[in-house]
Each structure stands twice: as structure tokens, then as C-alpha cells.
């Protein structure tokens, strides 16, 4: 297969290999060359061995071949008329070893070029500081202009402020009345019975407390991890919220015949082994876990209404705690955190797209409930036709998403994940970009519906007039079809886009397109598998840093090295190392 001039240009630094029998005297054109994208396969099958002195595509184009060569022969200097002159011999430049899945290369932004010219030499090692290659790539280009306009600096505009007062929980007890005094949270025992009134499909509830020093207890499948938070003033995303820290609700469930509600990807077992403590969506190592175990009507675990009932009755328990928490005196708060939705004037407009599940049953999320991380008053994305819905960063951080979450445990994003979403927090805090909003788009079951919502997403992003986008999805399966389509819809509008997902071995991408050239892998399992440990392969702060650095690089016009054909965890580690060095 020959290649086009466009492909040749993309791969000008890759080895030149003739695709077919090529006659002596031929002036080498792209049509004579093989596509470097398939070299790994050819090398693996033994059809191709690339020698060290191979010339690059950029070096051979327009040169005359001095001998007839067979198909799939790498071009070396002896095959070219006049050989290759000394100064144009390929030099091995060892930078930071940026061979990336998703990497940032050693070029930098437009109008901000490092030129390295080597007249002659051997064994040259060039070390370029990582800072040049990653996050700050945009910065140097912007600086002179900033200085130039110092006097007319425009202030950032704060759109809304959310005050979050955190109250520390030292102990949780079951008792006669729900109260929260001196750090001791008491939950009314009889609430387990009363809460069932919220949905007749819920037949039984048990509440117990798991303390951090006693994680050696059996748990049924963890359906969700839910923070306890309540509005004191204003709507979700603004005003004042009270939140408990040091204690979190975990919802577990079975049906009356004993079948786990999340039969697929269930993580039942010893809780200390089945939870990756400290992940954004999980309990932290020292959190007290308030376990609410719900038994739903037999057989309803495979319908939408069953899992939804479990979430509703669990929310009824949390609501009684919320009523007490609302009345707490602000002076008792251990910490006050201020979140601002800021329009960073003059900075690149960036959007985060979060693809959430919408295939039905527990593949659903409640959007914008009345109470933070609550259920009531919210709209399930399945009922909204999975159409994209825009939330402000503050709405996300104030519990604007209640996740019903299903498979698999390692990759699902629990309600607490959205409450502490690391990517939203990072991009919102970053002063180099202007986060304009977070778009939630559901993933329907049928392909036709997937493309319908994806096209609407493309139109929405176009109308938002953004300079960059990060698309994330949770888990794997047919949701990767719309994930790829979302990236295409954004990419084809000329907007730099970065994709973030778990894929690795078990969740390998099944579709792709040319806009998927900047991808961040969320896998943390050594074998690249769904590890059945809650939250194991979900998005963390480190993943978010890689994604944002990659987006900045892409927006700055930096070339991104193609990913290797197969998942390779070392690439991720190298990229992470780059970020760590850049931060030093």
C-alpha cells in the first residue's frame, strides 16, 4: 500500500520503506512508500526488519534510487544517488524518552521553536527540560503579549461562588434520634424501616457502621458511595453547602432471592480488599462507612425501577441526616472551602465532556437533584434521551450528579466521584485555561441513538466556541462507540480534543478515528484488567494532570507522538514522570 503526501508529511521522521518492487532510477514519491502505521505488525510477523541506518521519509522523498529493491525494503544511504551527505545523517536525540501512548513530543508551540542544528558529531545526548515539553507550552508564547498589554489587563470575572462548610465526624452511632453533636453522628435506628416508604419495591433495609479499623467485614456489591451534604442557602452550585467529612454512605443491595443488584461486575467480598480506598469515588482510608443495605423485590434488579428504588430509600435516610446538618452553627465547621466559577478572560476556552452511562437499569444518573448528591428532584439522563446537558463546574462539585453506576466496579464513577471530580477541580483551578462548563452526555444502547446524541454534542460544542475539549467516559463496552464519535464530532470542527478512558487490555477500544491522537489511559491494574476492586481504574488527580497537559500541548500545536499499537503501562508512567519533572 502506498501512502498519500499528507501521510508522508505526518510521518516524515519515520523510517522509509518501499511498499512494492521499486525500479532503479525511480524518484521516490509518497506513492512508493509503505505506511509506517503498520510497521509494528510487519515487524511482529517477521516481514520487516528495520536496520539502524535506515533513512527517514523526509530524507528520501525526491531522491533517486540507484538500485532495484524488493517490496518492504527499508531504504538505506547506499540505495540513494550520492548516498546521504554527512550533515543530514540521522542523529539520535535522546530527550526525555518521550515515547508516548499519548505523548507530548519535544517540539513546542507556534512561534516558539527550539531549533537544534548539528553540523557534525557522534554520541550526542541532548537533554531538554520537561517543562518545555508539557503543561507550560502555551505560556512562553503568551508572555510577550501580556507584558505588552500590562496596563489594560482585564480582571477575571467570578460568575458564582459556592461556600462549602465541612464538619468533621469522629464517631457514628445508631440511636433513638438522629443528631449530630460534638462530632458524633447518631442515626435513628427506626429510620431503616421508615425510609422504605420512599419506594414500595424496597422491601428491607439494614444500617450498620464500618469503622476504618475494622475493614475485615463482608460486603455485598457496593452500588454507590455517597457523600452526606445539604444545601443551606441557594441552589446546587452556589450559596452555602454543609458537608460531613470523615464519614460517607455506602449503598449495597441484593434482591429478595439473594441475587446481587449489580450482578455484573459485582464487588462483593471483604470490604478491605474490594475497595481502592482514597480514589475520588471511594471512601478514604480513615473514613467511617455508614453501610445502608437494601433488599429489593425479587427480579427487579434487572429493571430500571429496582436499583432506582434502592437509591431512593437510601436517599431518604441521608435526608434525615441532612435536616440535622442544615442547622449546624457555621462556627463549628472544621474547614470552609470556597469554590468559584470563574471566567478567565483572554485564556483559551475549554470544555470537559463527561460521557455517562445511559443504557438503562442502573446504567443511569440523576442530574441536578435538589440536595447535593441526592436523588429527589433530579432528572435521570435516560429520561432526558441522553442528550447533552451542561453543568457549571460548581454544580458538579456541589453534587449535581447522583450516579446509579453499574459495571464494572473498577471503572465505575460513583456519586462521590463527581462530588470530588479531579479533572473538573484541576481544570477549574488552572489559571491558564478558562473552563466554560462540564457537559454530561448519556450513552444509549443502540448505535443510531448513540450517533444522534453525539451529533447534538458536536453542535453544542461548536456553539460554545471553545478552543479545546477533554472527553472522558467511564468503563468500557459499547460506550466506546459514542466516546469515539464524540471525539470525532469535536475534532472535525477543528477543536483540539483529548480522550480519557480505561481501555488497557480488557477494555481495548473497538473503534477509532483520526481525531483520537491524544488519549489518556486510566488503567492502574498490572494486567490491564477489570480488577473487581471498587474505583481502581477511575480517573485520579494524576490522570487529570496528564489530560490537561496533553490538551495544552495540543492547543499549542505541539506534535503528539502516536501511541504504540498495544497497551503499555510504561508509557503512562513516563508521561507521569514528565509531569512530575515539569512541576519541580
Amino acid at each position: 500500500m502506498s501512502i498519500t503526501p499528507e501521510t508522508a508529511n505526518q510521518h516524515k521522521n519515520d523510517p522509509a520503506v518501499v511498499c512494492c518492487l521499486t525500479q532503479e532510477g525511480t524518484i521516490i514519491s509518497p506513492a512508493d512508500l509503505e505506511d509506517p502505521a503498520i510497521f509494528p505488525d510487519l515487524e511482529e510477523s517477521g516481514l520487516l526488519t528495520i536496520p539502524e541506518n535506515v533513512l527517514t521519509i523526509g530524507q528520501v522523498l525526491g531522491k533517486k534510487l540507484v538500485k532495484t529493491v524488493d517490496a518492504l525494503t527499508p531504504i538505506t544511504p547506499d540505495m540513494i544517488e550520492g548516498g546521504m551527505e554527512e550533515e543530514t545523517k540521522p542523529e539520535v536525540i535522546k530527550g526525555n524518552g518521550v515515547a508516548e501512548e499519548e505523548a507530548v513530543s519535544n517540539a513546542i508551540g507556534k512561534g516558539n521553536v527550539i531549533r537544534i542544528h548539528i553540523e557534525e558529531g557522534k554520541g550526542i545526548n541532548l537533554e531538554i527540560p520537561a517543562i518545555v515539553t508539557t503543561a507550560t507550552a502555551v505560556e512562553p508564547a503568551a508572555r510577550p503579549e501580556e507584558e505588552f498589554r500590562k496596563e489594560e489587563k482585564i480582571e477575571d470575572r467570578v460568575k458564582r461562588t459556592l461556600l462549602m462548610r465541612e464538619f468533621d465526624v469522629k464517631e457514628v452511632r445508631l440511636g433513638d434520634e438522629t443528631s449530630f453533636e460534638n462530632g458524633i453522628l447518631t442515626i435513628r435506628k427506626t429510620l431503616a424501616e421508615d425510609a422504605l416508604k420512599a419506594d414500595p419495591l424496597a422491601k428491607k433495609m439494614e444500617i450498620d457502621i464500618i469503622t476504618p479499623d475494622n475493614k475485615n467485614v463482608f460486603t455485598n456489591t457496593i452500588m454507590d458511595v455517597i457523600p452526606i451534604a445539604t444545601k443551606v442557602e441557594g441552589a446546587i452550585g452556589e450559596g452555602i453547602t454543609h458537608v460531613l467529612s470523615g464519614a460517607v454512605v455506602i449503598l449495597t443491595g441484593v434482591d429478595e432471592s439473594g441475587i446481587q443488584v449489580h450482578e455484573f461486575g459485582s464487588c462483593e467480598g471483604i470490604i478491605g480488599e474490594k475497595v481502592r480506598f482514597g480514589r475520588p469515588g471511594c471512601p478514604d482510608e480513615n473514613d467511617i462507612m455508614i453501610r445502608i443495605h437494601v433488599t429489593i423485590q425479587a427480579g427487579t434488579g434487572m429493571e430500571r425501577r429496582g436499583p432506582y428504588a434502592a437509591h431512593k430509600v437510601c436517599d431518604a435516610v441521608i435526608q434525615e441526616i441532612r435536616e440535622v446538618l442544615k442547622k449546624k452553627d457555621p462556627s463549628e465547621a472544621a474547614r470552609v472551602i470556597e469554590y468559584k466559577d470563574v471566567e478567565r478572560v483572554g485564556r483559551p476556552r475549554v470544555v470537559i465532556v463527561k460521557e455517562i452511562m445511559g443504557q438503562g437499569a442502573m446504567h443511569d444518573n440523576v442530574i441536578l437533584p435538589k440536595e447535593p448528591a441526592g436523588v429527589l428532584g433530579g432528572r435521570p439522563n435516560v429520561d432526558l434521551g441522553n442528550i447533552p446537558v451542561v453543568l457549571s463546574p460548581n454544580e458538579v462539585r456541589d453534587g449535581g450528579i447522583h450516579a446509579l453506576t453499574c459495571i464494572g466496579p473498577a471503572s465505575k464513577e460513583n456519586t462521590r466521584h463527581y462530588f470530588r471530580e479531579p479533572l473538573v477541580n484541576l481544570v477549574a483551578e488552572d489559571e491558564e485555561v478558562n473552563l466554560v462548563g462540564v457537559v454530561f452526555v448519556g450513552s444509549p444502547q443502540v448505535n443510531e441513538e448513540k450517533f444522534y446524541v453525539s451529533e447534538r454534542l458536536g453542535a453544542l460544542i461548536e456553539a460554545m466556541g471553545v478552543d479545546g475539549a477533554i472527553v472522558t467516559t467511564e468503563g468500557f463496552g459499547n460506550n466506546h462507540i459514542d466516546f469515539a464519535s464524540h471525539i470525532e464530532q469535536i475534532g472535525k470542527r477543528g477543536i483540539p480534543v483529548v480522550g480519557v478512558t480505561y481501555a488497557a487490555y480488557q477494555g481495548q477500544l473497538i473503534v477509532g478515528n483520526k481525531y483520537m491522537d491524544a488519549m489518556v489511559e486510566l488503567n492502574k491494574d498490572p494486567n490491564g484488567m477489570e480488577s473487581e476492586i471498587l474505583g481502581d481504574n477511575t480517573l485520579t488527580r494524576e490522570d487529570a494532570e496528564r489530560a490537561l497537559a496533553m490538551l495544552k500541548a495540543k492547543m499549542a500545536g505541539v506534535e503528539i507522538k502516536p501511541a504504540p499499537k498495544k497497551w503499555d503501562q510504561s508509557v503512562i508512567e513516563k508521561n507521569q514522570e514528565l509531569i512530575r519533572n515539569a512541576k519541580k
Binding site: A361, H363, I407, N479, I481
Partner: protein, 66 residues
């Protein structure tokens, strides 16, 4: 002994469908498979009786359990 358990296309039909998953019976009464809807790729809403295809090999016992 070297077993050449190649992956090959297997057909079957949907015999059960819920809002969560589908159950598939392989043709020739060669067993059943239940997968979450997310693992089913479809151009229309699935129905009982629809034909499906996947690629699989024979199943090989690898080791003792725990």
C-alpha cells in the same frame, strides 16, 4: 500437547432480554452466555429471537481455583 484453540465466529440467538442484560443461546444447543447490555453492540433495539454473533474459542482450563 499443543492445542490449537483458534478464535472463530459463533452464532446464536437472544433468548432472554432485560433492561440490564441479554441471554444468548448458541446454535446447536452449545451453551448459553449472559452479558450486560453494555457488551452488546447493536444497530437496533435488541429483541428476543434476534441473531447474534461473537468470536470465541474452546474454553481451556488454566489452573486450580484458589
Amino acid at each position: 500437547m499443543e492445542i490449537n484453540a483458534d478464535v472463530r465466529p459463533i452464532k446464536g440467538k437472544i433468548i432472554e432480554l432485560t433492561e440490564r442484560d441479554v441471554k444468548i443461546e448458541f446454535y446447536g444447543r452449545m451453551g448459553m452466555l449472559r452479558v450486560p447490555l453494555r457488551m452488546l453492540i447493536c444497530g437496533k433495539h435488541p429483541e428476543v429471537g434476534d441473531e447474534v454473533e461473537l468470536k470465541m474459542s474452546y474454553v481451556i482450563l488454566k489452573s486450580n481455583g484458589r
